[in-house]
Amino acid sequence: MAGLPRRIIKETQRLMAEPVPGISAVPDEQNARYFHVVVAGPEGSPFEGGVFKLELFLPEEYPMSAPKVRFMTKIYHPNIDKLGRICLDILKDKWSPALQIRTVLLSIQALLSAPNPDDPLANDVAELWKVNEVEAIRNAREWTRTYAMGNI
């Protein structure tokens, strides 16, 4: 693709050659700035066993501005809203060009392991997570089973 910064090509090649465990990111055939992403629910989290589809887009200014990432699979998580938007500082004001697609996706995977209901994006989920964590985790498991497990 003409005009694609070499850094993006380099990142893409490495993502394909040395994928991060539990994460696959593949560029779109038509648009090399758009990535199809699958993140496996981390072990020990209520999302374990789930396979979550995400979309990732590298804006024109990347790597000076953060990639845009969104969950496509429904997920019950206090920092992810109904539209799949993610509340994560490195995607906003804490972005740094030293971060990469792989580190962003790793951070998202880590967010699944460590939900933070004190900085919520989905208010109702966060509320339940704080008031009744057991039920919230049960809901997250149920959602994972209902929506994110393809092979049942």
């Binding site: 969104r70 938007r85 060009p97 109702d124 149920e142």
Partner: protein
Amino acid sequence: MYNANAHNESDQSVLEEIEALRAILFSELDVTYSPSGRPLELKHTLYPSTADDANQHYVCLTLVMNFPVGYPDQPPTVNLKNPRGLGDDFLANALKLCNEKCQDFSGSPVIYEIIELLRECLTNSNRPTGHCTICLFDFHPDDVFTYTPCYHHFHSHCLSRFCESMQTQWKEEDDQEAANNPRGANWKEKKVKQFTCPVCREVIHVELASLKLAPPPHEVEIFQEEFCKDAKFTAWRKEMDEEYDRQKTRGGIIDKEMEDNRFLVVTENTSATSSSSAEVPSIKTEEDFQQSQSQPEIKVAPVQASVISKPVASKSDWSRAQHHRRAPRGKWIRSSEIHSKERVVSAHNSVHQSNPPNRQSSTEKHNSQPRHRAEESNVQPAEARSVSAAPPPPPAAQIRPPPGFAPR
């Protein structure tokens, strides 16, 4: 096995070795001792030997040595921490040399030998051998590079681009702040605007003017411009698409359009017709919606939400996740229950439109072609007026609300 005497002897010898090092190195050594006073660990940051000209130190690392009981007869363990400007190959090689040295000097003091060895290695590669974390390319011998006080290396060109982009961002924030707050009443604490290291976020002081003079880095690596769409790629994509389809069938994929349209308002007709549409209140933003709540001609039709129990005014642009304003109170209508003849107004969809479409022209558009998205027109055709006043159709019962979002 060592007896107590031998222990004491070895403890004594390592203590003496460290004392001697302090004298030779003219610097404080970071040593951890056991409760009995035996040295356990030594940490020392090493730089290349450049005649003590610190401006010529482009790389560094921290040596960490652990001393087992019985050192020096038992070899110490060597670790290399916090490497700066040094690639993996350098570290692997240096560590190998250190371990060989430890084996060679088994039974004799080795700390000074290790320090000398590492200094020599650092001096020999006293220029960054890793890659610039901004462009991900290695440092070519002709590249102009710079490094921060925290010893993180960048091509000068790359760091200047980063700083310029930060400045642009700050300016945008300031402009936004000024727009939101035209009278300049600023009770908010001003964010401190300082450049920070892209790697470790330490505050750095940058002479941007001189950095900007640097040429772009050499593209030292030659690789295929296009990444290879090989069998693995095809297989992955196929697998992903299949997974997507499976999830879609199970209702597991977020329907952005439906979520976007979830927050719809049906307005009851008053005197409004296509021609007098200017009197129809238009709802373009959340604020409009809240205002419209008090106006009698607006009726919010209650319909059961299939997935969400709580109204959320969604933004069409999901990248705007930072705006988690509290949603206004309202009731739900499902977009699927509003067929094209109903008059619907999306509460949010025009938020990002800088120029809302002219009402008359949108009416013409509506009349001339079928409406696909409800919010394209907020003008009701005459024949549809009665529909919106009628009670909404029953919600589709087959959609099972997931736990947690059951209607309250």
